[in-house]
Every structure is written in structure tokens, then in C-alpha cells.
């Protein structure tokens, strides 16, 4: 097996008396889709926050591509190659889907070089077009983000994260707020885009049908700990998991 892309070693984090992460040990391997499941308050999003530098653990460390990233600022972690899509997408709601993407492309990596370059310059527009196509957003490209369906906003958020050219993408409930009828379509588009871009992904997800269909491996979180992890069929059909977690 190849070396892990992301590794958590004995990560502990508590807020006062609440244990948000307790001796979390986990390895994520290149190319896989790892799904984190568990009840609300189990510490799923906390783990993503630790991995992306928004929270610093009191003990343990996170390694990315073999290098420790614990305690680095979120921007430094993003530069290292870890991007994040949020449960509630952070978008410029009054601006078009295309403009949102141009902003993300322009902000990535270019710093302040050529600050006079227009936002619709091909330098920014071409990657934005490619991402629109990749995430099946072309038909809503000209519409303001506020006017498109939640599913498109979720896809746009993923496209924005992909604009950062990440190696690993952490997605917090990418199908929450999306109708059941649209969930699988959105997940299919999303999974295809990630596979095409060769991006490894960690999902936090509540919908077990989605997990069963798209996960390579699943980890079950409870009280800040990983109860069990493994292939989806083995984990989701585990009697203990079915009784106490699902």
C-alpha cells in the first residue's frame, strides 16, 4: 500500500469538559474517498477543522504528505495542498457563478502579480471555464449565486475549492440542504470531477445511501473517537454501528 497522504496521530482536543477529539488515529491514502459518519456532536467537523488549521489540537499531530502541519495557519495548509468545501458555501451571492470562480482563480497563487489584469482576462477566465465544465455548472454560469438551486451552490463551492488545485479536499456535508432527488446526481458530478482531477477526498456525510454508493472507506465517529473504520459494506452493516450510530 502507498504512503498515506494525510495521517492523524493520537490527536486530542477538548473544549473545557467536552472531548471533541480523543486519540484520533487515521490514515487517508492517495486517490481514496473516505467518508466520516456519526451523530451530531460526534466530532466530525472538528476533525476537519483540525486538519485545515482552524483548530489546534492539545496533543498529537497531523501529517500531510509525511510533513507535520499541526498548528499551521489555514492559508499555509491551503498552500500545502489541502482545500475545503463548507457545509454552508461561502459565496458572493450577488455575483454570477462565473465571477465567483474567476475570483477564486485570480486569488490562487497569483498573489499581487499583475494587479492591473482584468478579472475576465483569459488568464483567469480559461481555468474558470474549465472548472465550470468540470462541475457541470455551465448552464448557470451567468446567474447570480443567490438565484441558483442549492445543489449548484454546493457544486460551485467544490469548484472554488478545486480552483486552489488541491491534492486533498475535505467536504463537510456536500449534499446537506439538497433534495433527495438531486443528491445522487450532484454526488455523481462531484465524484467524477474529483476523480478526473485526481483529488483525494474526505467527506462528512449523513446520508447512508450516498455513503454506501460513493465511499471507498468509512470511519464512524462517536464522542470524538473513531469507533470503527473500513469498507462501507462492512462498517454500515456492523450490528453495533447500526444500533448505536445510524
Amino acid at each position: 500500500m502507498s504512503a498515506p497522504l494525510l495521517e492523524a496521530r493520537g490527536v486530542d482536543l477538548h473544549f473545557g469538559g467536552v472531548q471533541a477529539a480523543k486519540d484520533v488515529n487515521l490514515q487517508i491514502f492517495p486517490g481514496e474517498f473516505f467518508f466520516i459518519i456519526g451523530q451530531n456532536g460526534a466530532g466530525k467537523s472538528t476533525f476537519l477543522n483540525i486538519c485545515t488549521g482552524y483548530l489546534k489540537p492539545q496533543r498529537g499531530e497531523i501529517l500531510f504528505q509525511g510533513r507535520p502541519i499541526t498548528g499551521l495557519a489555514p492559508r499555509a495548509i491551503t498552500r500545502a495542498g489541502i482545500a475545503r468545501a463548507f457545509q454552508h458555501p461561502q459565496l458572493f451571492m450577488q455575483r454570477s457563478v462565473r465571477d465567483n470562480l474567476r475570483f477564486a482563480v485570480a486569488a490562487h497563487g497569483t498573489g499581487f502579480w499583475r494587479p492591473w489584469r482584468a478579472l475576465d482576462d483569459p488568464h483567469f477566465d480559461a481555468p474558470a471555464r474549465r472548472l465550470l465544465q468540470l462541475c457541470d455548472l455551465e448552464r448557470v454560469a451567468a446567474q447570480p449565486a443567490a438565484k441558483v438551486a442549492e445543489g449548484f451552490r454546493k457544486l460551485l463551492d467544490v469548484a472554488l475549492a478545486l480552483a486552489l488545485e488541491p491534492t486533498l479536499l475535505l467536504l463537510d456535508e456536500p449534499t446537506s440542504g439538497v433534495s433527495s432527488a438531486d443528491k445522487h446526481g450532484i454526488m455523481t458530478t462531484l465524484a467524477q470531477a474529483l476523480r478526473k482531477e485526481r483529488v483525494t477526498a474526505v467527506f462528512v456525510e449523513h446520508d447512508m445511501e450516498v455513503v454506501r454508493r460513493f465511499a471507498d472507506r468509512v470511519g464512524v465517529w462517536a464522542n470524538g473517537q473513531i469507533l470503527i473504520s473500513g469498507p462501507p459494506e462492512a462498517v454500515l452493516d456492523d450490528p453495533h454501528v447500526r444500533e448505536f450510530v445510524l
Binding site: 492559508r75 491551503t78 463548507f86 461561502q90 459565496l91 458572493f92 450577488q94 465567483n100 475570483f103 477564486a104 485570480a106 486569488a107 490562487h108 497569483t110 498573489g111 499581487f112 499583475r114 494587479p115 492591473w116 489584469r117 482584468a118 478579472l119 482576462d121 483567469f124 472554488l160 480552483a163 486552489l164
Partner: protein, 307 residues
């Protein structure tokens, strides 16, 4: 021309000239508020520093025996030096510490007090460096000659001020709407959190916007210096007038600031000609009138987008 029309034309031209300087200062204040949400009380001091530095440059040019026309690039260089020296120091060294205050009211209070403290310190610094006597560099006013309009002479320098203000307005429009940097500034003004999530370097944009605002204030002071006696106290007068302009326009409105500066400039000038006793009241009476009917300023779109 009738007995009224002549003075009215003069008052209007003088008012537009005055409004041009006022616009340069007020638009800087507006830019800073639009992006950083900081009501910068020290802005008047940036204006005064620009004026003092330009007056000193004039003295230096005269002492060195350089061609007098050197004063015009020196005015612009003075503004750049002041803005670049003071802007990043105040923003990074002081204001940045206030951005982390969670409660909005506490943050705004801290920023008001901090910028007021800077204002007081810079006022004293001006007295220490330049003393209490006014500086005059009026010769620069006459170097470009005069133009007669309806038989009344106006210095070409006054007309140049109007041109500079128009060029600054156009440049700001092009920079903000047509370039990546400008779009980033607009994005941060719209929503700093989303901007940060997109990877826009919000902290750097804050520094850039504050520095540009400071340069504009200093440019206003530098360009006004040949037309006034440069003395301590000019900063406090200008900041109050700039607040009036920004309040009339609506906070964060750039084109609105141009219109409001014109209204105040021309109103003030007409009052000087026809009702001298009311001249100092006119700007504030105008502001009061506008705010009674339009509490968010004449260009209320400021509620949606700030610059």
C-alpha cells in the same frame, strides 16, 4: 452679464475648485471606510501632513535654486511619501489589533479612539516639526499663469485641481471595476469573510486600501498647499468637512463623494459671496438636510455595496 450672474459664476468656479480638494480627501476617507469599516479620524492629519510636506518641498526647491516648475511633481511625490510612510504604519501597527475584537460596538469604539489618538499625536508632531507659523507657497499658484473667464482672472492651477480630481475619479473607477486588484478591493468591501474563504489576501487588501486612502488625503493637502496658509489646525477643519461629504454621499460611495464634494464646495463658495456670515454653517446645514430625508446619504446603495 447681470449683477448676480457674474459673482455667481465666480462663486461656482471657486466652489468647484474647493470641491475638488475636498473630494480627494473625502474619497480617501470613503475608500477606507468602505473596505475596512473604520471611520478614520486621523484622516485630516494625513491631509495636513501632505500640505506641510509639500510646503517644505517648495522651500527646499527654492533654497536649492531648482527650477520652480519642479514644485508640481514635488507636490505629488510629497503625497506619495506621506501616504506610504504613514498609511501602512497606522493600519498594520495599530488598527490591525482592533480587527480581532468580536463585539462590533466595542471594535468601532476602539477604532474611533485609536484613530483619534493618532490624530492628536500627529497634530502635536506637526507643531514640533513645523512650529506654529503658517507656511505659504503661493508662488506655485501663479507659475502656470491665469485664464480669464468672463473677464475675471483664475489661476490655471485652480483649474488644474479640477482636472486632477476628475482624473482621480476616473482612475479609481477603472482600477476598482477593471482590474484584479480593484475587484479584490470590492470583494473585501462586500464580504471580507467570503473573500478570505476564496483565498483573497484580505489583510493585504486592508493595507493597500488604507494606504491609497492616506495617499489621497495627503494629495488633497499637497495640492491645496499653494492655495492656503499651511498651519496646524487645517487637518481638523478638513476632517469635519470630509465627514460631511461622506455623510451626504453615503459611506463608501466614490462617485457620490464627488457629487457631495461639489455640492458642499459650491454651496460654501456661494455663501462666501452672498451670505458670508453663513459660509461656515452651509456644509453642516446641507448635511443635516440630507440626513433628515435620506438617513443613509443621497446614494443609499451604500447599504448593499460600500464602494
Amino acid at each position: 452679464m447681470t449683477a448676480i450672474a457674474g459673482p455667481l459664476l465666480s462663486a461656482t468656479i471657486n466652489g468647484v475648485t474647493y470641491g475638488a480638494t475636498l473630494f480627494l480627501v473625502a474619497v480617501g476617507l470613503s475608500l477606507i471606510f468602505g473596505v475596512l469599516r473604520v471611520l478614520n479620524v486621523a484622516h485630516g492629519s494625513f491631509y495636513a501632513l501632505g500640505a506641510f510636506t509639500a510646503a517644505s518641498a517648495w522651500l527646499l526647491i527654492s533654497a536649492l535654486g531648482w527650477p520652480p516648475l519642479c514644485i508640481y511633481p514635488a507636490l505629488v511625490i510629497s503625497a506619495l511619501v506621506v501616504g506610504v510612510a504613514v498609511g501602512p504604519v497606522v493600519e498594520r501597527g495599530l488598527l490591525r489589533w482592533t480587527f480581532g475584537i468580536e463585539a462590533e460596538a466595542a471594535r468601532e469604539n476602539a477604532q474611533l479612539l485609536a484613530t483619534y489618538a493618532i490624530f492628536l499625536m500627529l497634530e502635536d508632531a506637526q507643531k514640533l516639526i513645523w512650529g506654529g507659523q503658517p507656511y505659504y507657497s503661493g508662488s506655485a499658484l501663479r507659475l502656470l499663469g491665469i485664464t480669464r473667464i468672463n473677464g475675471i482672472p483664475y489661476t490655471n492651477y485652480q483649474l488644474l485641481l479640477i482636472l486632477v480630481a476628475v482624473l482621480v475619479l476616473i482612475a479609481l473607477r477603472i482600477l476598482l471595476r477593471g482590474t484584479k486588484m480593484g475587484k479584490f478591493v470590492l470583494a473585501v468591501a462586500e464580504d471580507p469573510e467570503v473573500s478570505s474563504a476564496m483565498g483573497i489576501p484580505v489583510a493585504r487588501i486592508y493595507t493597500v486600501a488604507f494606504t491609497v486612502g492616506a495617499i489621497l488625503a495627503a494629495l488633497g493637502g499637497a495640492l491645496a498647499s499653494p492655495t492656503i496658509g499651511v498651519n496646524t489646525g487645517i487637518g481638523s477643519e478638513m476632517i469635519v468637512l470630509s465627514f460631511a461629504v461622506v455623510a451626504i454621499a453615503g459611506l463608501g460611495q466614490i462617485e457620490g463623494a464627488a457629487v457631495a464634494a461639489l455640492v458642499i464646495g459650491v454651496g460654501h463658495s456661494i455663501a462666501v459671496f452672498f451670505f458670508p456670515a453663513l459660509s461656515s454653517v452651509i456644509p453642516y446645514a446641507t448635511m443635516l438636510l440630507v440626513l433628515v430625508f435620506k438617513p443613509y446619504g443621497l446614494f443609499a446603495a451604500a447599504q448593499v455595496r460600500r464602494i
